[in-house]
């Protein structure tokens, strides 16, 4: 029953994460049989977003204007800069921390064995941003993986050299968690990073 166009649609849907051949087929038939309006809307939204969403000139996050809303906001504190690996990390921090400063999005992390070096994650641009000289604190919020730690370390050296304060987010036991079920690495990190109360 499938025609070249339907096949093409099924193939195209497989570029979505978590979508294999079977679910792609279900989606394609669902759209064709029951929701053509929604599908056209999706198609228009997709092509418009792909054409118009680029990167913020200042913080590299996804943005459809030259400066993203956070970078262009007057109310954000321009003297603190939080460094994260991806735009979804910005969303996560925005929705839960009440952080009022600005961000810098690396779009990845240092991973020499995959050939990803400092310039690939925009550290040349970060250096220029730091050299502008109105940043008082840099918060390193890269992921607690080996690559994330290496990235944080590399950036902390860059920041130290410029005499700016640099902090790293804490790692520890999840809220409401029980120590018994926390993995050894996290527990040990939490233990070593204990603080006086």
């Amino acid at each position: 029953m499938s025609t070249p166009l339907i096949n093409r649609l099924v193939e195209a849907l497989r570029c979505l994460p978590g979508v294999g051949p079977k679910s792609a087929q279900r989606m394609a038939y669902h759209l064709l049989e029951r929701n053509r309006g929604g599908a056209l809307h999706l198609a228009a939204a997709l092509s418009e977003a792909m054409e118009r969403v680029g990167h913020c000139r200042r913080c590299r996050t996804l943005s459809e204007s030259e400066l993203c809303p956070i970078c262009s906001s007057e109310r954000r504190d321009a003297t603190t800069l939080c460094i994260v690996e991806s735009p979804t990390d910005v969303e996560a921090l925005e929705s839960s921390t009440g952080y009022q400063g600005r961000y810098f999005v690396l779009m990845g992390h240092l991973s020499p064995l995959d050939g990803i070096g400092p310039d690939d994650i925009g550290l040349d641009r970060l250096a220029r941003l730091l050299d502008e000289g109105n940043i008082a604190e840099v918060i390193l919020a890269t992921n607690p993986t080996v690559e994330g730690e290496a990235t944080a370390h590399y950036i902390s050296d860059m920041v130290h050299r410029r005499g700016v304060k640099v902090t790293r987010i804490a790692h520890g036991v999840p809220l409401g968690g029980e120590l018994e079920y926390v993995d050894g690495g996290t527990l040990s990190h939490a233990f070593h990073g204990r603080r006086e109360v």
Partner: protein
């Protein structure tokens, strides 16, 4: 720690292989499909192996904290072919973290192993030397020298061991205050003076590498250049990415 009984744990069912609780270090991991990882691991009994960790990147995966480089793991796997499946992994030495520059030195160790070891070629002794080198990095003391000794042992294990205590050719003992140039095939050869374009090292450097005793800055520098030249021969023209990262971090220093 060594897997003397690993052969007993390996049971061959038709062509499917099951291995349980092998000590291992993760060398590298890359995302695979939606939620899986491709792992490169270094084990004493099976050498460097590739495994698929299914679902290891998923939101509920408990393996995320475990499958990190530089910590001793106990891993189990099963399957046939070149890429068997990871069936279990636990951390053996919780609370050991590489920090700072040692992290980047660790990338260097891992990159050397990835580039120079063939898969499924067991090197139990080298596994032990890797552990020793990691201990050096964790202690964050004498990192540079720990890397040199690991390079020496790696070459030895691969069958390219350096001749350090005797001259090539006539087999005379190396003297600490004499000057030598190192030939890949024949080993050190005594020379009267330094000349341009030829790497020359003092006898003291060769002897220090042989004994594993660290010395002054010049000695460390000479060892580094010697090792870089010898390793370069086996690494081929593609540069080491971790060395490139060092170079970018300290444009003018001699760290490695």
């Amino acid at each position: 720690m060594m897997s003397g009984s690993s052969t007993a744990l390996v049971t061959r069912m038709s062509s499917e292989q099951r291995v349980a609780l092998q000590p291992a270090y993760l060398l590298h991991r890359t995302p695979f499909r939606d939620s899986s990882l491709l792992l490169e691991l270094f084990t004493p009994g099976h050498g460097r192996i590739g495994l698929v960790a299914r679902g290891a990147r998923g939101a509920r995966s408990k393996l995320k904290g475990v499958l990190q480089p530089y910590q001793l793991l106990l891993i189990s796997w099963s399957g046939r072919g070149e890429l068997p499946t990871l069936t279990g992994a636990e951390c053996q030495d919780g609370g050991v973290f590489l920090q700072g520059d040692a992290l980047i030195s660790g990338f260097y160790l891992n990159e050397l192993l990835l580039r120079l070891l063939a898969r499924h070629d067991p090197h139990p002794h080298l596994f032990h030397r890797y552990q020793v080198a990691l201990q050096g990095l964790i202690a964050n003391a004498g990192v540079e020298w720990a890397l040199r000794l690991f390079e020496r042992d790696l070459l030895q294990e691969l069958g390219y061991g350096l001749l350090l205590t005797h001259e090539g050719g006539d087999g005379k003992e190396v003297e600490a205050d004499a000057l030598y140039c190192y030939h890949h095939e024949s080993g050190p050869q005594r020379i009267a003076t330094e000349s341009r374009g030829v790497l020359s090292v003092r006898g003291a450097t060769l002897l220090a590498l042989a004994r594993g005793e660290c010395g002054d800055a010049q000695l460390r520098r000479e060892s580094k250049l010697l090792m870089r030249e010898v390793l370069g021969r086996y690494l081929g023209p593609r540069p080491l990415a971790s060395r490139e990262l060092f170079r970018q971090k300290w444009p003018s220093s001699h760290e490695e």
